[in-house]
Symmetry: C2
Subunit: 222 residues, 2 copies
């Protein structure tokens, strides 16, 4: 168990180093040697966890999906909003999440399949919209798969614009504005009136989840 803990920590150290190097240099220019140097681990340790630069990048891309599970809500569209607003909050706050999102938008990352995060997020959004639909939260014309792709694509652009014009300073207000523009086209009015799409929502969901994690296993939450 202790050995396994150490392996998990080493893997995390390597991924954090990879995230840092990819973010600074771009996927194409980054080298495994730089990641090794930044991580301060042995070559053997790195290759035990990751066989190639692409595997390292896939590891970083995956990290943005991990660890934070939105608490169940009676309203499934609120859960969807919480996913988006929490992700915006974590993008501002967590370098690993930022690196993953930037990798997925790195157009010159040759040989790296960047479609993973788009497709995974699409899948998650679609499931959420289907639950909302089965509860009668959606307007009758909504096609969950089409709306899911709109939510994922639009959020990707809003974060990219926010990064470009304000280095993510305005990401929370832009994400809130995005949802206030999309949800009236998909939600029935009574649901719409009950939603919290405010820019403070992401942080409060983050604190809520951390509070729950702390209750479950105090040692793993820093």
């Amino acid at each position: 168990m202790v050995k396994q803990d150490r392996a998990i920590r080493t893997r995390r150290t390597i991924l954090e180093a990879a995230a840092k190097v990819f973010e600074e240099r771009g996927y194409q220019s980054a080298t495994i040697a730089e990641i090794l140097g930044t991580a301060g681990v042995t070559k053997g340790a790195l290759y035990f966890h990751f066989e190639s630069k692409e595997q390292l990048a896939q590891g970083v891309l995956h990290e943005q999906d991990q660890r934070f599970v939105i608490p169940d809500r009676a309203c499934k569209l609120q859960e969807l909003a919480d996913m988006v607003l929490l992700h915006a909050y974590r993008l501002q706050a967590d370098p690993m999440v930022r690196a993953g999102v930037r990798l997925s938008m790195d157009q010159h990352a040759e040989g790296l399949d960047r479609s993973g995060p788009f497709l995974r997020w699409s899948h998650v959004c679609r499931e959420q919209l289907e639950k909302a639909q089965s509860q009668g939260e959606l307007l009758p014309h909504v096609v969950p798969s089409v709306t899911a792709d709109v939510v994922v694509g639009t959020f990707a652009g809003v974060q990219s614009m926010s990064q470009t014009v304000s280095d993510y300073q305005d990401l929370r207000s832009r994400s809130s504005a995005l949802l206030r523009h999309l949800f009236p086209s998909i939600a029935v009015p009574s649901v719409l009136a009950s939603l919290d799409l405010s820019e403070q929502r992401g942080e409060s969901v983050y604190e809520e989840i951390r509070g729950r994690l702390r209750e479950q296993s105090p040692a793993t939450v820093s």
Copy 2:
């Protein structure tokens, strides 16, 4: 006049070469020597038009805004939709437009101010929304500057997702879906019912503009 025509053509040749090299290599890795080689012009000609790699990139970034002016419509939201759908069509069809958009999304283009296209598009959308507002086309809560940024950011993301998952094959249907998700939140119902947000719209606007250009000056339209 003939001399000026030649200068315009040379400038265009250089920009097309720059677009090609930036698209293949990314801004960071591209060199002026490669652009020279691709353009097949003299060093003197290149430096006459552009003093640096950044000026070349700014030239490419600007090209996506040029040449295509949307015809006046009675409905200003239709004009806004036409801008977006025409841009989607041109992105699929014109390598120069594609290179400009990709440059503006190139996160590793150090020293290149990429905010220009975002800010210019925001400005144009905002003006359009203000006209729509003064004609009573918008719902009362709409703030044109906020909605303009949502339109620009969301389109940027939708094109990026389309590039990643389908190499732009599905860009027209995604752009149409985007507008059908955004406009119900901003337009009064009677305007909404009159809009053409279909995926064929971009191409028909493109043909309309080319038809008009051909009438005005047949020689300049290929």
